[in-house]
């Protein structure tokens, strides 16, 4: 069953990679949220936004940051509201930041108790019925009336999201069982006025929210905790590491995953085909998921045709060795300081194979301009 689900990931990866533009990205985190994770997600997103916006868009960058904070706080707030944590394990929440051309989308999805839906919905409908001036007034009224004492229950955060984005809020409820419903919320920020506004009554506008819901469903089905589609550089590698490190309760597995992740992503950064703006990084996708007792790490990026042979040779080489031989080979390479043999398999793949639970899985897919989409997958046994 595990094999089958990985296969799906290989099939879907290129479609996802290809659906975004060159300086676009979509980052999705699914699972448990805590203060640390929230902080690291913000750093990851903010760094990436800084790479693709110029100084004149500083205000936009601040607003996006602000809305991300509100969204993430909404999730942790709802998480705290539901006393029994096991419901959160059963129905993990999601946070997504996407840049699609001239639009940024910030989306959240989390469970709420069914009996809270009506109140939430009416709050959102009131907010969406108000223009910017009325929102300002409404904000002041709520502050003055002091009804914020019930822990943000008055919807100040929602009002601020609508104000900062200058847009209506898209939302949707998906019933899960007799107790809980997934509550999805999306805010859109245009990079300039040409990209317009959101009309919640227009069903076409819901496409962007529907796509996040679909992603969430797929990530639930594959048990993916992290989906990263954008450009890789050393900065976001460090942020991704920090996110992994902030997940609770799995210290040993976390170390292993981090080690494997560093090698996989630095391999992309070093050898992957760059985007036309090299300073941004190397375009690629990365997934982290859980199947049975294994953590599965999958990466995908574009390579030139001439790299195909050398990469497959190297991967076949390390896959063909026993763990003992791999260890001896590692020593050889470690002590080989003057090898000019560029064809020699390096420490990266050797180390990945040593740390991976099973042979390194790979695949090359044809893409339009005669280059290849290179998929690599490793598996780390989950240990408590």
């Amino acid at each position: 069953m595990a094999q089958e689900s990985n296969r799906n990931l290989f099939e879907e990866a290129y479609g996802l990679f290809n659906r975004i533009g060159e300086s676009d990205f979509e980052y999705v985190y699914r699972g448990y949220f805590n203060h640390n994770i929230t902080k690291k997600i913000l750093i990851l997103a903010d760094n990436s936004i800084a790479k693709v916006t110029d100084a004149s868009q500083a205000t936009l960058q601040k607003r996006i940051y602000y809305i991300m904070v509100e969204g993430l706080q909404n999730i942790t707030h709802h998480q705290e509201e539901i006393a029994n944590d096991s419901n959160f394990d059963k129905y993990p929440g999601i946070f997504a930041i996407q840049k699609d051309g001239g639009r940024y989308f910030i989306s959240t999805g989390n469970i709420v108790a069914n009996d809270k839906i009506d109140a939430l919905k009416s709050k959102l409908d009131i907010i969406n019925s108000l223009d910017q001036n009325e929102l300002k007034k409404f904000h002041r009224e709520i502050l003055a009336s002091g009804s914020i004492s019930d822990k943000g229950g008055a919807g100040l955060g929602l009002i601020e999201m609508s104000r900062k984005s200058g847009n209506k809020l898209l939302y949707s409820f998906e019933k899960l069982d007799n107790e809980f419903t997934y509550f999805y919320l999306q805010t859109m920020l245009p990079t300039d006025e040409n990209f317009g506004t959101v009309n919640p009554d227009d069903s076409d506008e819901h496409n962007t929210l529907d796509s996040v819901k679909l992603l969430h469903r797929e990530m639930n089905a594959e048990n993916l905790q992290l989906y990263f589609n954008g450009f890789f550089n050393q900065d976001n590698l460090l942020s991704l590491l920090a996110i992994i490190k902030s997940r609770p309760n799995m210290p040993l597995t976390t170390i292993k995953i981090s080690n494997v992740m560093v090698e996989m992503l630095q391999n992309i950064i070093k050898h992957g085909a760059k985007s036309s703006d090299e300073s941004v990084g190397v375009p690629g996708v990365f997934f982290l998921g859980q199947t049975g007792n294994e953590t599965i790490l999958t990466s995908g990026n574009i390579i030139n045709n001439e790299s195909v042979e050398i990469i497959s040779q190297r991967l076949d080489f390390v896959n063909g060795m026993s763990k003992e031989d791999l260890s001896d080979y590692y020593d050889d390479v470690l002590l080989d300081f003057d090898s000019t043999d560029a064809k020699r398999t390096g420490l990266g793949f050797t180390d990945l194979r040593i740390k991976s639970d099973r042979p390194l899985k790979y695949e090359f897919q044809d893409v339009e301009d005669g280059r290849k989409f290179y998929l690599l997958q490793t598996a780390v046994k989950t240990q408590k």
């Binding site: 210290p251 560093v262 470690l334 420490l347």
Partner: protein, 124 residues
């Protein structure tokens, strides 16, 4: 000899090479993109230090993450410490957290490959 102090960054370790204080330590995280450039001054420093080392040199590695590019630089440091051992007493301590099998395995690998006294030290 002038000491060499390099402050830690998000992806490079803290380095303290201070003969006067008798402190030699590489700690925290080492996952730079370009490990060769980062470790170049460190290797140069130890090369010079090997000419006229302290009577006793205790060298501590206390690393949390090491990418493979750095692991190749670390072995060069340890091999240079073998040089230092020709003129002085050298001991290497390799610290690893008890749960960190990978860091323990890397230390064991180095220990096997070198002749300099090399201790694997488990910390809680």
């Amino acid at each position: 000899m002038e000491k060499l102090i390099i402050e830690e960054t998000e992806d490079t370790p803290e380095i303290i090479l201070d003969p006067e204080e008798g402190k030699f330590k590489i700690s925290k995280i080492s996952v730079p993109e370009n490990a060769v450039d980062f470790y170049h001054p460190v290797l140069e420093w130890i090369k010079n230090y090997a000419e006229e080392p302290n009577i006793q040199t205790v060298f501590d590695f206390d690393l949390e993450y090491v990418n493979t590019a750095s692991s190749k630089q670390v072995i060069q440091i340890i091999l240079l410490l073998q040089k230092v051992a020709e003129k002085g007493n050298v001991k290497v301590n390799w610290y690893y957290e008890s749960i960190d099998e990978d860091m323990k395995a890397l230390g064991a690998r180095y220990k096997k490959l070198v002749t300099v006294p090399f201790d694997l030290v488990e910390i809680e």
